[in-house]
Symmetry: C2
């Protein structure tokens, strides 16, 4: 494998609500839900999906849990918030605090107060509407250009 990734797909219970959370609540640009012409059925997954284009060709996708289950031929499971975390770096401690507040206002759940780690990172976590972990972090070693 080459050191790249093309898509991160988050399994969501309610595509419209999750789209609103990421688009309206957090401000990520998107064309909204596409692929609705592929209806699917009990066996075949629907194609309806929401995509966010990130840097370097990376796509963040929101896709219903029920459809990912069919597409990957995996049985449904009890949701777990400890599988992965998505890290988003900002330019200061203050920006960490502000973005966590914004996420909370948009419907996310903070897991703890943001705090510093011995290795120099200041961060805090929130859970999105489906319990997926996001870490909002300030790392003096990461330069934020935007």
């Amino acid at each position: 494998m080459r050191p790249r990734l093309n898509v991160i797909t988050l399994a969501v219970r309610d595509l419209e609500k999750s789209l609103a959370f990421y688009r309206d609540g957090l401000g990520l640009p998107t064309k909204g839900i596409i692929g609705t012409e592929y209806k699917g059925n009990k066996i075949e997954p629907s194609g309806a999906i929401a995509l966010f284009e990130l840097q370097g060709g990376l796509i963040l996708a929101l896709y219903p849990r029920s459809e990912l289950s069919k597409d990957a031929k995996m049985s449904d499971t009890i949701p777990s918030a400890l599988e992965f975390s998505l890290g988003y770096a900002v330019e200061s401690r203050l920006a960490v605090d502000e973005l966590l507040r914004r996420a909370e206002a948009a419907g996310a759940t903070l897991t703890d107060k943001p705090h510093s780690r011995p290795w120099g990172i200041y961060s805090g976590y929130f859970l999105d509407l489906d319990g997926h972990l996001w870490e909002i972090l300030w790392n003096p070693q990461i330069q934020i250009k935007d």
Copy 2:
């Protein structure tokens, strides 16, 4: 939020084994486990982590589930393979089949035979050592430069 992502952290049960899977099994370059000087304790997480630098400043991190649990102040959960999927695009159907075989040889579990979707993607999924889903896909609309 800006349309970017800095880190994807995968929670793993055994950091050394997962590192071997991604580095030796799948061939992703890495400096190996770093941060071992931060020992942690029952409350504070250890800093030991394995990082893979991907495109556009994106980092794929392997971090023990027990430590992510402490860092995010989240209780441990029953693992779930339906939370997310990481998509890796290759240049042909044949390359999908080949990479899935390579992943299986490295210890991954295929969930199904790769197949085509009505929206034009040919793909198959594997589960890594911790049950995290990866979709290896050929999408004629994605140009692979490497």
